[in-house]
């Protein structure tokens, strides 16, 4: 009876009612070693200070703000007390990038004395021929350490408590306030010059929803002053964008640090612009088949309209988000299948000649557990295929390799029931797919055209058998989903690991639009790759990792193209160099080899092969 009463109250109280939950245990995270007040943190900080002072002494550096250049895509979870074992003390920031490419650099500052107001000035970069890579092409952000659930760096699962983790890339680090005493994140809402703070890391049982799209909650347009805590490291990202027409060469410049009104040092910056643009990624050893770079969710105009309410604002933020997606290598976002959204794709220069993430306009027959489709069901499928074909012909001029899905994680009975309608779509070149597991292959591989495989990108046997089916797109999800904040892990899973194993589809679950509260879910953490707010998406380490993953594949694609050119020539030296490159690709261990090392080696081979090709042309 008590239950009945409670239920009645629950109905009456609507969203404000929550069932009792275990998440009431006293918060023990206050004493966690990631808290700067903890003995462990203090001990590490003291040791780091001694180590850094020694380095400064050896290098003759006098400043009390010291820098290390570090790998932007690293397994190291760079908290304030974590020493950058991969760092190079007092070294220049370096990047090697193709024309049109976005390439991250990163450094960490260590403050021997606390600083309240630290600002940065980036100079233009120049080469020895007088060409300029303008400062505005270098996008500098601070890596915000904030609270996420205990699985923070490691997985996408939910948890009941919070730990610190570096994740957000912000222009204004105060957009989110982190309170280590209360173990809490707060969103800063700035209205009429006044700041208020909203608790955005409450336990799930308390959560009633935070409107992140409200006016006043957004990042700054330019990098704001940052605070440096004594004896702590702070990480920064500098993403260089090389314009397509930038002349190749070595460009140098500086980042000048100003602390509390005084010059506090200079970080040299060196960027090598390579003499080529990167192609879109193509399938490993099948260069005529593009790799699909997508993700589930995140880029629906309808969602933006629902969130922002105001049409002009929604459209502005959507266009920004789409440009951001393209700049991050997401060339095939899943968008609303409307004339309007497809036109936006075209206008923004997304590839729309297929493959493209589309819809099959199929009605749902509610036969999750099998049975037999009726004649009318089959005809509905046939009509849907025609409708889809007509739609894409009208808006894209083709319907070839429109990648669609029907069902999710379905079993053998579902596949047997539905597989016969796929032919209607195949006739138009429209591919039907389904995410899931083994049954989809055993019972439907001959009819599917696209398959996000529920497993890991290193499941070679599972990927191989799908690829053995020929012209098909296969990717991975779930092991892991998105959600881990570790950029090195994300880059590997989405990039070379799956790619060299034959995967040619990135369509993981998911690019969630919020919530900002990492405790606001039960089994899985909210799989937010990039956080939406009033100003649009703010970038994150894992979002940058997606771009690097795609860029790894683009470099590998270019290298393979160069190899193919060389193999087609009659010059044995040229051919042999190509075969050396093939050998290099063949011996890569994508589960563990250093991805920066693979990238560098690919660049070296590309340059060598291009040089030989040019020599051939001249010869």
């Amino acid at each position: 009876m008590k239950k009945c009463l409670s239920l009645a109250s629950a109905l009456a109280l609507g969203a404000f009612m929550a069932v009792g939950t275990l998440q009431g245990a006293p918060n023990a995270a206050k004493l966690n070693p990631d808290n700067p007040a903890s003995p462990e943190f203090k001990k590490n900080a003291a040791a780091n200070r001694a180590r850094v002072e020694q380095l400064a002494k050896e290098a003759g550096v006098k400043s009390d703000i010291l820098h290390f250049t570090v790998r932007p895509m690293s397994e190291i979870m760079r908290l304030g007390d974590v020493y950058p074992t991969d760092g190079q003390f007092n070294a220049p920031l370096r990047a090697v990038a193709a024309q049109g490419e976005y390439e991250p650099m990163s450094f960490q500052l260590f403050a021997l004395n606390g600083k309240k107001d630290v600002t940065f000035k980036i100079s233009d970069l120049r080469d020895n021929k007088g060409n300029i890579l303008p400062a505005k092409e270098l996008d500098m952000k601070v890596v915000k350490i904030w609270y996420q659930n205990g699985n923070r760096w490691n997985s996408y699962f939910a948890d009941v408590d919070l730990r610190l983790v570096p994740e957000l890339l912000l222009k204004d680090e105060n957009m989110v306030k982190v309170d280590t005493d209360q173990v809490a994140n707060y969103a800063r809402i700035r209205k009429d010059g006044k700041d208020t703070f909203v608790w955005i890391s409450a336990p799930k049982a308390l959560e009633t929803g935070f409107n992140a799209a409200q006016k006043g909650f957004e990042d700054a347009a330019e990098l704001q002053s940052v605070k440096l805590d004594k004896d702590q490291f702070k990480q920064f990202f500098v993403t260089v964008h090389v314009p397509e027409k930038q002349a190749p060469g070595i460009y140098t410049g500086t980042i000048t640090i100003n602390a509390d009104g005084k010059n506090a040092g200079v970080i040299p910056v060196k960027v090598r612009v390579l003499p080529f643009e990167l192609p879109l990624p193509a399938t490993y050893q099948k260069l005529d088949q593009p790799v699909v770079c997508s993700v589930m969710g995140g880029f629906y105009l309808s969602t933006f309209r629902n969130i922002y309410k105001d049409e002009k604002l929604a459209m502005d933020r959507y266009i920004k988000a789409m440009k951001n997606a393209k700049a991050h290598g997401m060339f095939h976002p899943a968008v609303n299948q409307t004339a309007e959204s497809l036109q936006i794709l075209k206008d923004l220069g997304f590839p729309t000649d297929g493959p493209i993430m589309g819809s099959n306009f199929m009605p749902w027959f509610a036969r999750n557990f099998g049975g037999k489709l009726t004649f009318d069901n089959m005809m509905a499928a046939k009509a849907a295929a025609k409708k889809a074909h007509d739609f894409y012909m009208k808006h894209l001029g083709h319907s070839k390799n429109i990648l669609t899905s029907y069902g999710d994680e379905q079993g053998a009975a579902f596949v047997v029931t539905h597989r016969n309608f796929h032919k209607y779509f195949e006739e138009y070149g429209i591919r039907v797919g389904c995410a899931g597991h083994h049954a989809l292959f055993y019972k439907g591989a001959h009819t599917y055209g696209v398959h996000p495989m529920g497993g890991a990108p290193d499941s070679i046997d599972r990927i191989k058998r799908w690829r053995d089916m020929g012209d098909i797109w296969v990717g991975f999800y779930a092991s892991q989903h998105t959600g881990s904040e570790n950029p090195a892990f994300l880059r590997r899973q989405n990039g070379m690991l799956g790619y060299l194993n034959g995967a040619n589809l990135l369509d993981n679950y998911e690019f969630a639009i919020g919530p900002w509260n990492d405790l606001d879910s039960v089994l899985y953490k909210p799989m937010v790759v990039s956080y939406l707010n009033y100003g649009g998406y703010v970038d994150t380490l894992q979002w940058e990792a997606y771009r690097e993953a795609v860029d790894d594949m683009r470099y590998c694609t270019l290298l393979q193209q160069e190899i193919q050119k060389a193999l087609a020539s009659n010059d044995i030296e040229y051919k042999t160099e190509a075969r050396k490159a093939l050998r290099f690709l063949a011996i890569i261990k994508p589960r563990e080899d250093d991805l920066d090392s693979i990238r560098s080696e690919m660049i070296v081979y590309i340059l060598k092969l291009r040089k030989m090709a040019n020599a051939q042309k001249k010869g």
Binding site: A8, L13, M17, Q23, A28, D159, G371, A383, L523, S600
Partner: protein, 824 residues
């Protein structure tokens, strides 16, 4: 499709029944004059009982019928059929008995075609349906083929009427369609169209059947042509409105699809009796102005006899206002335009109030338009105040809209409501306390008093208090009263069991047991304090945590099977960490497991070798399978982490005794890339055993619940013991180095020297010094090193040697970065 079949069946039954009555009239006219025959009445009774699925009634009627002297053989056959179908309509029908009745009917030579058809179609439909189960894999078409054969058999019965032949054709065509023999289906239906001497109604039926199948097969033009032919041949003024509208809608739909809506309407307007169809299309197209004017004109009427029309007009305007999302219009209609109608008919007010409530309460389609939903609720309450369900809905919407002051007013009204329950009243009072309050302690005190003095004594519990505090905290949080929310949350937290983190010592034991047998015999596991207990029910469980409950009853594990919980002991030695799980098992089950039968709950375990370390996920199936899953990676191999590799750096083994299952998990020290633990160092560990619906050590609410992992605390990690561990690790470091020095295995230290494939400059500048330095360390690793040598080499070189490949790759990256940004 199913619907169509059922209609056919019903038609056949009805036809059968009338034919029986006709037969009765024909066969017994003389007797009827003398003694009134009971047979027709009994036949009707039987038929009625059959239609109502009343088996007892049908049986009684059947028995009586069989006693009638004037019953004809055809009636007997019909009676068997009706009894059979009544039996068939029962739950869990005895189909053998049903079929026996049908056979009896068919065995009578005089059986009518109606009864024959009914039985054949009954069997055909069952066969057909069997091919379309609710689920499972269906490979065959046996059911459809059987149905086709039966329908064909029916079509060949002698003496069928045209309509019966048309129906048979339709059934045959339907089977052919499901077999995807579409052309044959068309041909079958065309045959029916060509039957001789068709009446117009029969022609209508045959042609519509054909056209409908063309339409279903997406042959729209062919279908359209037939619909138009039929329409042209009809008397449009007299044709039944359903048939006429069907034809109009089919044709207009096609015009709309090919030429647009305007053309469809123009065509409809050119036809007689289409006014309503045109209006429907206009309304569907949201052309509301015309309807608004009409409704307003109706409202201006004063004829007392037409008050129902005016109520209808109000309803019509409400529908339009809701469709348009026009709150002002809705308010105007309900409050102003409706006022005079309510005066005329007092019942109208209630009627409109209920209509409004029906539009809002629980209707999902309004979920996206909360202001409209709230407006309808408020209007409903304005017309019919005090309806508690509507008030509760108002509160729900106000809460969703964050209208706290309004919600408070609604709750205050609800508290005074005569129908409010004690529980609801308590919650409303608590919410109001949170809305009004600032200080957590004061609000909590108020709430405690409310619970203590709750009207229903059943509510005066700590569980209820915990829940009420939670709701109040949520309200405070939703209002942005962070301190109040946090304060109430913490006060509630104090009511829960102060459950210290489960911890278990992991001592270094010099002569540690090496296998399960030795472990079982070891004195260490005899001491209960050395055992961790998996006594926490997996998942969320508030009752389990409430301090008061716990204080009274202790840590009760609900749904216990009565068996002892799984326990484990953890120790370490120079090789690694060994964890023995002890799982009591009933002797019968143990005996089965030994033979390879049955199953035992598997393990899901997580292990992080430090607070800041990634965690490993281990899934180990219980015996007899005992499969190890290690493919969920939280990182891949790098300088600071090694993935689990079964039987390389960890392994598990089982032993089944007469009353217990043991599992030994052995983890190699080479996994501990963050260093050998010192005394007091903590590894985070959570074993979940999927027995008894899941029991865990740490208290996982869900899987991978990092913050609830328990603590393994290392002890006896003396310098001497740590040296023993280092001694066991150094050969592994040497092996790693040797692999990278080997030309046979593509070693990265060796590779760069190769002038053909490597990079001699890089080798000379970077690798050679590295090779010299760490090669010397590797060479010094030997079986008989002193402790001093072990400690020195380990401390100076182990981390680099074991990571040789990663260090060389890092050096290469730095070298190429430098080269590419310094030299063109």
């Amino acid at each position: 499709m199913k619907h169509t079949i059922m209609l056919f069946l019903a038609g056949a039954l009805f036809a059968g029944f009338t034919a029986e009555l006709d037969a009765q009239k024909k066969t017994a006219p003389a007797k009827a004059a003398e003694v009134k025959s009971q047979t027709p009445a009994l036949m009707k009774k039987l038929n009625d009982a059959a239609n109502r699925k009343n088996l007892a009634g049908a049986k009684a009627a059947f028995d009586e019928l069989m006693k009638q002297s004037d019953i004809t053989p055809a009636q007997k056959a019909a009676a068997h059929y009706h009894l059979g179908r009544t039996m068939q309509a029962q739950k869990k029908a005895d189909m053998a008995a049903v079929e026996a009745e049908y056979d009896k009917a068919l065995a009578i030579p005089e059986v009518s075609n109606d009864v024959k058809l009914a039985i054949i179609y009954n069997r055909a439909d069952r066969a057909f349906k069997s091919n379309f189960p609710g689920g499972g894999i269906v490979y065959t078409e046996d059911g459809i083929l059987k149905a086709l054969a039966l329908n064909l058999e029916a079509s060949k019965l002698p003496g069928l009427t045209n309509m019966q032949k048309i129906n048979a054709s339709k059934r045959i065509a339907n089977c052919l369609l499901e077999l995807m023999r579409v052309e044959e289906a068309f041909a079958e239906l065309e045959k029916a169209v060509k039957l001789p001497n068709l009446t117009w109604d029969e022609m209508y039926e045959a042609k519509i059947n054909l056209a409908n199948v063309y339409r279903r097969a997406l042959e729209y033009d062919k279908a359209d042509k037939i619909y138009r032919e039929v329409l042209d041949s009809a008397d449009k003024e007299k044709l039944h409105v359903h048939k006429l509208n069907f034809l109009y809608n089919m044709i207009a739909g096609r015009i709309a699809a090919t030429q647009g809506e305007a053309a469809a309407r123009a065509w409809l307007k050119s036809q007689p009796r289409t006014e309503n169809l045109v209006r429907n299309r206009e309304y569907k197209a949201r052309e509301f102005e015309k309807f608004i004017k009409e409704h307003e004109a109706t409202l201006k009427g004063t004829d007392p006899k037409k008050v129902r029309d005016r109520i209808g007009a109000i309803n019509g305007l409400i529908s339009i206002a809701v469709e348009k999302g026009d709150i002002a219009m809705l308010q105007d209609v309900v409050l102003k335009k409706g006022a005079s109608v309510y005066k005329e008919d007092p019942g109208a007010k209630i009627q409109i109030a209920r209509r409004l409530r029906g539009l809002s309460v629980g209707r999902h389609y309004m979920a996206g338009n909360l202001p409209m939903k709230l407006a309808t609720i408020k209007l409903a309450l304005a017309l019919e105040p005090g309806d508690i369900k509507t008030m509760e809905e108002q509160l729900r919407v106000e809460n969703l809209m964050r209208k706290h002051a309004d919600a408070k007013a609604t709750m205050e009204a609800l508290i005074k409501h005569e129908k409010v329950s004690a529980s609801q009243k308590l919650y409303y009072q608590a919410h109001i306390a949170a809305i009004d309050g600032k200080d957590a302690k004061a609000v909590a005190k108020k709430i405690k008093d409310l619970v203590k003095n709750a009207e229903d004594e059943k509510l005066r519990t700590d569980k209820e208090l915990a829940n009420v505090l939670l709701q109040a905290a949520r309200t405070a949080h939703s209002m942005g009263k962070t301190e109040l929310a946090r304060g109430l949350w913490e006060i509630r937290g104090e009511m829960l069991v102060n459950r210290p983190k489960p911890t278990l010592k992991v001592p270094f034991i010099k002569d540690a047991p090496q296998d399960i047998t030795e472990f079982i015999a070891h004195p260490y596991i005899k001491d209960p304090k050395n055992l961790g207990v998996l006594d926490f029910k997996y998942g969320d469980n508030l009752e389990f945590l409430l301090l008061t409950d716990s204080a009274i009853t202790g840590r009760t594990i609900t749904e216990s099977t009565g068996t002892e919980p799984t326990k484990f002991a953890a120790i370490c030695d120079h090789q690694g960490v060994k964890i023995l799980f002890i799982m009591p098992c009933a002797p019968e089950r143990a005996a089965l497991l030994k033979q390879g039968y049955g199953g035992f709950g598997g393990f899901e375990m997580y292990l992080a070798m430090g607070f800041d370390q990634p965690y490993h996920c281990m899934l180990i199936d219980g015996p007899p399978k005992a499969k190890v899953w290690d493919d969920f990676n939280t990182q891949y191999n790098n300088k600071g982490f090694r993935v689990l590799k079964a039987y390389e750096n960890y392994r598990s083994s089982f032993k089944i005794t007469d009353n217990c299952v043991y599992m030994l998990l052995e983890l190699d020290w080479s996994l501990a890339m963050n260093g050998i633990p010192t005394d007091g160092f903590i590894w985070e560990f959570e074993p979940i055993h999927w027995e008894n619906r899941g029991r865990s050590w740490g208290g996982s609410v869900s899987v991978h619940n990092r913050s609830t992992f328990g603590h393994l605390v290392f002890t006896n990690m003396t310098p001497e013991n740590r040296t023993a561990i280092k001694r066991s690790l150094l050969p592994k470091a040497k092996a790693a180095w040797n692999t990278e020095m080997s030309s046979r295995t593509g070693g990265v230290v060796e590779h760069w020297q190769d002038p053909e494939l490597g990079d001699v400059r890089f080798d000379k500048e970077v690798v050679a010094p590295f090779r010299a330095k760490y090669g010397a360390y590797a060479a010094a690793i030997k079986p008989n090193m002193t402790d001093e040598e072990v400690n020195r080499i380990y401390d100076e070189a182990y981390e680099v040697l074991i990571n040789t490949k990663f260090y060389i790759q890092q050096l290469r990256v730095e070298y190429l970065d430098r080269l590419l940004t310094e030299e063109e």
